[in-house]
Symmetry: D2
Subunit: 365 residues, 4 copies
Amino acid sequence: MGNSFGTLFRISTWGESHGGSVGVVVDGCPPGLPLTVADLQLELERRRPGQSKITTPRKESDTVEILSGVHDGHTLGTPIALNVRNRDARPEAYAEMQEKFRPSHADYTYQMKFGRRMPEGGGRSSARETIGRVAAGAIARKILKAANDIDIVAYVETVHDITMSPMDAFPERAAVDATPVRCPDPATAERMVDRIKEVRARGDSVGGIIRCRIRNLPPGLGAPVFDRLEADLAKAMLSIPATKGFEVGSGFAGTAMTGSEHNDPFESAAGGVRTQTNNSGGVQGGISNGEELYFRTAFKPTATILQKQDTVNTAGENVTLQGRGRHDPCVLPRAVPIVEAMSALVLVDHWMRQFAQNRSFAFSS
Amino acid sequence: MGNSFGTLFRISTWGESHGGSVGVVVDGCPPGLPLTVADLQLELERRRPGQSKITTPRKESDTVEILSGVHDGHTLGTPIALNVRNRDARPEAYAEMQEKFRPSHADYTYQMKFGRRMPEGGGRSSARETIGRVAAGAIARKILKAANDIDIVAYVETVHDITMSPMDAFPERAAVDATPVRCPDPATAERMVDRIKEVRARGDSVGGIIRCRIRNLPPGLGAPVFDRLEADLAKAMLSIPATKGFEVGSGFAGTAMTGSEHNDPFESAAGGVRTQTNNSGGVQGGISNGEELYFRTAFKPTATILQKQDTVNTAGENVTLQGRGRHDPCVLPRAVPIVEAMSALVLVDHWMRQFAQNRSFAFSS
Amino acid sequence: MGNSFGTLFRISTWGESHGGSVGVVVDGCPPGLPLTVADLQLELERRRPGQSKITTPRKESDTVEILSGVHDGHTLGTPIALNVRNRDARPEAYAEMQEKFRPSHADYTYQMKFGRRMPEGGGRSSARETIGRVAAGAIARKILKAANDIDIVAYVETVHDITMSPMDAFPERAAVDATPVRCPDPATAERMVDRIKEVRARGDSVGGIIRCRIRNLPPGLGAPVFDRLEADLAKAMLSIPATKGFEVGSGFAGTAMTGSEHNDPFESAAGGVRTQTNNSGGVQGGISNGEELYFRTAFKPTATILQKQDTVNTAGENVTLQGRGRHDPCVLPRAVPIVEAMSALVLVDHWMRQFAQNRSFAFSS
Amino acid sequence: MGNSFGTLFRISTWGESHGGSVGVVVDGCPPGLPLTVADLQLELERRRPGQSKITTPRKESDTVEILSGVHDGHTLGTPIALNVRNRDARPEAYAEMQEKFRPSHADYTYQMKFGRRMPEGGGRSSARETIGRVAAGAIARKILKAANDIDIVAYVETVHDITMSPMDAFPERAAVDATPVRCPDPATAERMVDRIKEVRARGDSVGGIIRCRIRNLPPGLGAPVFDRLEADLAKAMLSIPATKGFEVGSGFAGTAMTGSEHNDPFESAAGGVRTQTNNSGGVQGGISNGEELYFRTAFKPTATILQKQDTVNTAGENVTLQGRGRHDPCVLPRAVPIVEAMSALVLVDHWMRQFAQNRSFAFSS
């Protein structure tokens, strides 16, 4: 249970870090979308390990195979199954972890929930699981682009205590990918990279904040009262490993404003109704209002550190654990495509839902 | 679509602010739970308008009727429908709003989504809709209490720029309810009340932050990878009107820590495995670890203000709107039981899911 | 659990036979549909007790109240809650049944499932629960009629061993309702009525078969592989109390044909592609093909009989039970609107699903 | 949409007949179940083509690979992905079908629904899709066996107009598999085989009826009002390709009985409460009553016949089509494991649901 996401455009992921493979099946994809392996590989490249000097050196090409649902270069409307083999699995590196619970990892909680677990690389709790999300998200992004020229761009805004200045213009994806840390401000990016190298050198790790911005969303997406657009985005973000917080629009900072400062006055504009400010972040009452939708997601520092830590073993005894193995000293650069993918999945689903309820019938009243 | 919440313990709410009634049907409630109208009314009292000098003066007794699912003082295991009549509806007070979209309300987005809306009191987007959630949550809380003595206590931690000091001890509900603003620190509460009165006096409003704390949760609740406990809580919180952010454990502040500072070392303790610190906030890998679960939710300042604002009318013309009517200058005191109710709904659901998958069969391996 | 039906047009029913009320909440109804109480009452009249001399004399006007979701005579797109009060409840008539399980009723199984039950009138297992379905179905039928002039007409084809001759023309609803047994062939209807009276006179009961026919369905409805149109119809039918069988198109009789006899050859026709025969019953591969959709549902004889029967009491002792109380000697006449309602719910849902996946995006390939 | 089945034990299948592979992901499987490839292969052998002289000669070993969810010979509680490569694909054999709609196949309806289709072997509408169901069903059967020694045995009762005599004893699976037609009565089986050979010889096909029997089910499974056990079984059966009907217990024949003949009197017995007869077929009010559960499913004659038939091409012109290619002249022998698999999936799901609602909490009243 809990391994599917979405209502109409629904994905189900599978796979453990060091098992046979990780993958996803996408049900509900509209037929007729041009789709190739290259479309998927493009996004997987941005998520895969070993892509830069500040990510884990684990060797995985993350080559995806389309098992079904595509024929003659187009989607069929039937389930699209995507599979990625695990290659560089080193089960032997995890012998100690079989006995000892890594602090702030999911070893202990998986053991308590299921009564057993796959210790190698965290098994199902590994971020390798997100490969399926990124592959499915690549499909969702193509759909959104085709539908309304919708762009989703996420970037690293904060690493540890280093934050880039606010950016007014809608960011270019190329600018984000131009730095290894995926911060579109080169000077800040350099400082972030230095910080990451520095903490890695002493066997430590850091977290940070990713901002995601979405443009060209039409008004009307979101399904109150429970499936508000921001509620589904919040769930999507908090379902990503290592996340601890989500805020949309003014977020936590908005709590320090008064209503007269915070409200976004409407005005008539060329393209229809617009707001003069955008503290709402593009959603009002759980529904998109046509403004830029933006939100931020907080990631904790990587739990794997190469230091000695107190912990408990499976026999319940106090022990110490010396961290080992390949890992990311900061997950944020590789989390950017995951944030975008999950956002795309939420938006395609709500687009379809909006159509189903509000466009499938027209009544003359 | 979008008006149901939960998988196994599932609620579906209905109702508009000034329509006939608001209510909820709860499907999946276990049979045999003692349940009376008084159990529900207790929680509704905490949410209803007019309960103190800093809430809206709208006159609603919010008297609930149990339409089904309870017999002889106990739940039957069949759907429990709960209904609350709207009494103090004043449709005539909303004449102007029929024509003009209130800034940062849902008037415009509902109109764009559905092509029509009920203007009185915001119709479905009104916080009156949460009555059903609070009533259903009262059932969920009884179940959690009976199951494992689980306590859920939320309180107002911040109003505008006034924040109470961190509180180590688990809060008493009586202490929370002892102040009209539902902040358990009386001195801070007094300052908060003053602030609310002050902004109300000038026709303005404020927001703030609610902290929610949960104790006696067993390890094992949560269904990764998508239905992580914190992901479902995040969705639950962001589905509450006026919310803009959610963070669990160390949250956004945790992004400024290193891994060695942030990790929670395990240790063997009398009651089993415990953590020495609790930056995780009681969840690791999407599953409860047996520590106190805590999170914070940000509420924006009330959108209704008694000032003149720029906006647009249904004809698309720029106009000004003078706010009128009864409203809460700060929604947080009345939001406390809503936060608790939504939390309880998430937890009962995951308790049942945990049982279904991990306790319904025992295999001898 | 189990009290909701549908994916996009989703209903949740509540209520026990002798509890406060029975009702339904409809989520996902498109906005803008003209809807009045009279629209609903029309269908409820066809289901209510006491409508003719061959139905139960229980006195229930089954007056429905719209609690939400309708404003200014039109649906809002928000949940529509409908409530019907139970009036003629006679709990005292069920004293004996509190102790003794009625054979072939749900008394025993509810007790075993839930550990308790509401004995009066069978509680939740009563056919009174279907009031919510019929009311919701009335909305669905209006939508289908508006969308594509879709007609759903069911009628009683068989009572006990009396079967009407096959009817080629699509039946008029007025002709169906013209006889108390809802068989559009007056001569057969008369024989059926006589049979029902005869078995009632000796305290016995009969069952029969309802045929349902649907015209003007466009091709393309149905969601293989699991949510085939006929699979969802089968579930819908078998969810109606007292049903034991379902067949679509040639059904069980078709098993005695060869493929060359059974296949429906296609031919080009004025309105597009048609089939020369219709053994398929309007569905092929789980998807409507544009031909008339027809199916049959088998209803067992009413379990309540006014005779002495062997049974067991709640203490597990062998006892005899003398049937008493008001009941239908044959449920079929009142089941006709239920069959139609459930069919309409399935079809609206699939219409919306078809739109969501196959019309919400158009790709230029 | 529509490619998942189940609520708590949920499967999602993928794959086209001649695409890369067919498979399934199972979400919700309890952890700790011993599981090997051999467990799955055993059931796939019973479904695979070429297993006897009366099935299609298509050469497929149907070798399954476990991609995830199993570690150290046991299920992990995480998703189990199972994949089977298509080997003997002959796309060139379908050139004509690309242009012409095969009568009573899904070619036309898929085209109308999706606007495109994969013509080879029917693509997604092929019965090859059921491989995933059978593999997932093998897991479900192991669980049911371990849980309560529950046995599910289906067999071919009727082929064309040849029907075996009623069989009182619960059938042995070995006896069913002992004949190529999977009818446990050897004499009848021989006649069935002869009939199948005979119709095949003239390029024709036949259908028939499969009976399924289930023993050792505890009382209490099923979730009225919509998710009645028989309703979910009906949907499960009608979701199998080529099915046209379903009946449980007395079924259609029961409509010719009176209530006094049809009712199943209860009696006190050694093992608890039992019924003297079993016209109910093991379910009452949508819930299992502890008696043998039995039902029948009707399969139409195979649509593929090697004869000349009228049809229409994709240009809408009347044409004739000469059937070709490998096919089953009667699908029933290979459908037996599919019927069992789908039954097992329904039962495990309801077992888990029953546990979740009715065993996860115990209240002292």
